[in-house]
């Protein structure tokens, strides 16, 4: 294993442990970076447990550094460090460190953007430049956001611990939301190209880690299953010339069978627990989509009915309408869509346009496509909508 992959795999874990030892994220990051710099010079080959090596080295470097400094904070931190047992434990506490870090990064007192950036930086080990590229914002914006968030964690006293049982459901929701948003941004980027594979893979990796850390939380398993089942279809989502391919037209042989099998197994695990929640229901819907040669839309509709009871949002209602069209035809689906109010959301007019097309109301469909095209921000989706619209207006 080369140093780059060690860094990628171990950075987050090491920072999480050092944060517990040092009581400060910034100091922990410095110490871990110091340790990697030492590794560059000293490693002829990768030691048997590179993470433990980095943690021990980082801890020693941090003690040296704190001894050189004489501020009150430094003495305080040094005292904390010296009271730690010599060899940091590798298994149990380290897992807890990562959990603590996830909950700290996704603390609701931080802005959603700061939560995402911190999670990708501190848990994913992504560089600021990578995060900036993924979100198409300047690097300076990302690093400023991260610096500010770390400052708030320290100054406001955001605790570095897993929330107590009473607060857990709310706090877990915000962690799941961050992972879901990271994945979504990767799957359909706000602008530019359709996919940002980096983000999809990172979200799946973090969801896997979370599921390993909290195997008894059904919504955590639900989110992992959902991401796996959507990720499995990614290879079929973009055609040979980079165009968007909708589910019904995808080449199913391109789907990743392993991920689908894993996702289905997780959905069955959720069903056995019988404590459904929004992520588990979405996972179940995607399990139906990936089961057999074609989607069983009646089952999808039944699941959307259940999802709508859990999360009565207009976006869920819009997705449900798509299933209504498949089961009961476009007319009742259009009636359902026309009741929804989702200002600025391009998929509402896009769905209307598709239903109007099926109803043979061509002029209305063209108008709806125009509306959707005006709202869409992703280039590939725009091309897709323009192609659909062009089919309705016979060329010269």
């Amino acid at each position: 294993m080369d140093l780059d992959s060690v860094y990628r795999a171990e950075y987050g874990r090491c920072v999480a442990t050092l944060t517990r030892l040092l009581g400060d994220i910034g100091l922990a990051e410095e110490a871990v970076q110091d340790a990697f710099a030492v590794a560059v010079q000293k490693w002829d080959e990768t030691p048997p447990s590179p993470g433990a090596w980095i943690v021990t080295t980082a801890r020693n470097r941090a003690i040296d550094r704190l001894r050189r400094e004489s501020t009150r904070e430094a003495r305080h931190a040094q005292a904390l460090l010296l009271h730690q047992p010599d060899e940091p434990e590798v298994v149990g506490p380290v897992r807890d460190d990562q959990l603590r870090m996830i909950f700290t990064c996704c603390h609701p007192a931080l802005s959603p953007l700061a939560q995402t950036a911190l999670t990708l930086r501190l848990l994913g080990g992504l560089e600021v430049a990578q995060i900036a590229r993924a979100y198409l914002v300047p690097e300076a914006t990302v690093s400023q956001r991260i610096v500010r968030a770390k400052k708030k964690i320290r100054d406001a006293g955001i605790p570095y611990r897993v929330p107590e049982a009473a607060e857990l459901p709310d706090r877990l929701t915000s962690v799941l939301t961050v992972l879901y948003l990271v994945f979504n941004e990767g799957y359909t980027s706000t602008s530019g190209e359709l996919l940002r594979t980096d983000l999809c893979l990172e979200a799946v990796r973090l969801a896997r880690a979370l599921a390993e850390l909290m195997p008894d939380e059904p919504e955590v398993i639900g989110l992992l299953a959902l991401l796996l089942l959507v990720e499995a279809r990614r290879p079929a989502r973009v055609g040979p010339s980079g165009e968007l391919v909708v589910l019904a037209e995808q080449d199913r042989s391109l789907w990743n069978r392993e991920l689908i099998a894993e996702g289905h197994e997780l959905v069955r695990r959720c069903l056995r627990r019988a404590q459904p929640g929004p992520y588990q229901l979405q996972a179940a819907i995607n399990a139906v989509h990936t089961d057999g040669p074609a989607t069983d839309w009646a089952q999808v509709l039944a699941l959307y009915d259940q999802l709508l009871r859990h999360s009565p949002t207009p976006v869920v209602a819009l997705n449900r309408a798509v299933a209504v069209a498949e089961v009961h035809g476009p007319a009742p689906a259009l009636a359902a869509v026309d009741e929804l109010d989702l200002p600025g959301y391009h998929l509402l007019p896009a769905t209307r346009a598709d239903l109007l097309t099926r109803l043979g109301r061509t002029a209305d469909a063209v108008a709806a496509y125009d509306e959707a095209i005006a709202l869409v921000t992703n280039d590939t989706e725009r091309t897709f909508l323009q192609t659909r619209r062009a089919r309705l207006t016979p060329g010269p």
């Binding site: 009150r72 603390h107 007192a109 100054d155 406001a156 006293g157 955001i158 605790p159 929330p163 607060e167």
Partner: protein
């Protein structure tokens, strides 16, 4: 232990509540204060009169000027505050939730400078 300010943000443009509602609100906030006291988190509490009674004093260049009204003429004004002492932000936030519910107004949670070592 850290110290936090829990500031009540009152919307002064909203119609003032009836006498009965005011009494109920006072009783609710007094109850939260009593809870803070028995939990050992309470440091200070005070309710403020509306901003019409406010004066800003500015000093510099050897003169002092006074202006009628608060710093900013916005409809949201500081309506009162608690000062509490607790372990971390999560504890402060859970007090703030109770305060917000009791006052029927948003609460701004802000750590004190000396919070880290005080």
């Amino acid at each position: 232990m850290k110290k936090y300010l829990l500031a009540v943000q009152f919307d002064e443009s909203a119609p003032s509540p009836s006498e009965g509602e005011k009494q109920e609100q006072m009783a609710r906030t007094a109850k939260v204060t009593a809870e803070m006291q028995s939990a050992g988190s309470w440091v200070f509490v005070g309710g403020l009169l509306p901003s019409h009674a406010t004066t800003v004093v500015r000093s510099g260049n050897g003169t002092t000027t006074m202006t009628d009204g608060p710093f900013a003429e916005t409809k949201e004004q500081l309506g009162g505050f608690w000062v509490i002492r607790c372990e971390d932000l999560d504890q402060a936030l859970s007090w703030a939730e109770k305060c917000a519910l009791a006052c029927g107004a948003p609460i701004e949670v802000r750590p004190f400078v000396d919070a880290q070592w005080g």
